[in-house]
């Protein structure tokens, strides 16, 4: 791994570990990640016994060269954006570890696990109450939103 920057080294390690031991229902698109280590697409399946059972989602991860000090930019992409009180219809996710509570000790894997668990604890499929307003006015990059985390129960 000579000649790699610290962030690339770290991402390479994470990619290997995610390919070798993916969490249940999670798989990384290796073609895309190997072309550009700073851009990953991850396939995610709704967990059995939850409202999302049988659904398939795609998550996009974008990393800066300051990763893991900077959090990754994570959004749902594709034609199936989960209907969930913390997921906007443009794919943006309101999840504190993606901004304020990000720590360099977290990883792609821990972010995926948090998102699976966020989906799994959902009791009723619905969009956030401010979806229409937010999607019209927000920046393309969800990290440029000043999020207010108001409900930890779903």
């Amino acid at each position: 791994m000579a000649g790699m920057s610290p962030s690339e080294r770290r991402l390479q390690k994470e990619l290997m570990s995610l390919i070798k031991e993916p969490p249940p229902g999670v798989s990384v698109d290796t073609n895309i990640a190997e072309q550009n280590l700073l851009h990953w697409v991850i396939h995610m399946e709704g967990a059995a016994g939850t409202l999302y059972e049988g659904e398939r989602f795609q998550l996009q991860f974008k990393f800066s060269n300051k990763y893991p000090f900077d959090s990754p930019e994570v959004t749902f992409i594709g034609n199936n954006i989960p209907v969930h009180p913390h997921v906007y219809s443009n794919g943006h996710i309101c999840l504190s570890i993606l901004t304020d509570d990000w720590s360099p000790a977290l990883s792609v894997q821990s972010v995926c696990l948090s998102i699976v668990s966020m989906l799994s604890s959902c009791k009723e499929k619905q969009r956030p109450p401010d979806n229409t307003f937010y999607v019209k006015t927000c920046n393309k990059n969800p990290k440029k939103t000043k999020w207010w985390y108001h409900d930890d129960s779903v």
């Binding site: 000090f69 504190s96 979806n131 229409t132 307003f133 440029k144 000043k146």
Partner: protein
């Protein structure tokens, strides 16, 4: 996002989209402030006489009295960048610095540090994220261990802590060690955490993320993790003429001395 009304009419949203996005303005201002701080202060500064503090408080009697009092007890101050990591950076630096001249203690510290990765992994930290920071941390400790000349070792320490790449890795690893300590002794530490957060929640939200400021509980756990004690000298707007000293943990013989002014820690030298 807050709970803005769902019934956004087109007229309202048109008005809003024609104005700059508030969130972006707030974040841009935050970035600007951070940039000003990083342009004007090194991560860890040179030794300066205590009297250099007078410049900051030239017309403030309360503080001037306290600087005078501080000058009677301490010779020098070493400033750190106020970026929310100042306690961890100051403590890590000052602790390694004092160990450089005590070969045996340094070796013991090195030995405990070597074992720390396995301890963290056994507490549930992910192997490869811990490894990332552990490897750099040990690389720095090893390099310093092998420098025979004390002056050169001091210089190397100073250079290392001013290179963001290394310095931030040292900060993260001490944050992880502190988090590990809190989680290992969670029965004890849970009494000090307000609200209904668990010790693990607290670690995830207030200890492990970069730039989150440190409180007593961080300091006590960090001291336990590095097996040493700290004296914190408090300098604030209180009307008494002298600064107050707190030894953490209580009753210890402190090896590292820090100056606390609301929101910030610098290193002090006897």
């Amino acid at each position: 996002m807050g709970d803005e009304a769902q019934t956004t009419s087109t007229t309202v949203s048109k008005e809003i989209t024609s104005q700059p996005n508030q969130d972006e303005l707030i974040l841009a201002q935050q970035r600007q402030i951070e940039k000003e701080i990083s342009d004007s202060t090194t991560l860890v500064g040179e030794l300066e006489p205590i009297s250099s503090l007078n410049n900051e408080y030239s017309s403030d009697e309360v503080y001037l009295d306290k600087v005078k009092d501080l000058g009677e007890k301490y010779k020098f101050i070493r400033r750190t960048r106020p970026d929310g990591n100042c306690f961890f950076r100051a403590f890590s630096y000052a602790n390694i610095e004092r160990l450089l001249s005590k070969k045996e203690d340094y070796n013991e510290f090195y030995r405990i540090s070597e074992e720390s990765k396995d301890v963290l992994v056994s507490l549930g930290f992910q192997q490869f994220t811990v490894e990332d920071f552990y490897d750099t941390y040990m690389e720095v400790l090893k390099k310093l261990k092998n420098i025979e000349n004390l002056d050169e070792a001091h210089k190397e320490l100073h250079t290392t802590f001013n290179e963001q790449g290394f310095s931030d890795y040292m900060v993260v690893y001490l944050r992880l060690l502190t988090s590990g300590q809190l989680q290992k002794d969670q029965d004890f530490y849970s009494c000090f955490i307000e609200g209904d957060r668990t010790v693990t929640d607290f670690c995830h939200q207030e200890v492990e993320p970069m730039y989150k400021e440190s409180d007593h509980i961080h300091i006590i756990a960090a001291c336990a993790a590095l097996n040493t004690g700290v004296r914190v000298i408090y300098m604030d707007r209180g009307t008494e003429k002298s600064c107050t000293a707190h030894d953490l943990p209580e009753g210890c013989s402190p090896t590292v001395h820090l100056l606390y002014r609301p929101g910030h820690y610098d290193i002090l030298y006897l």
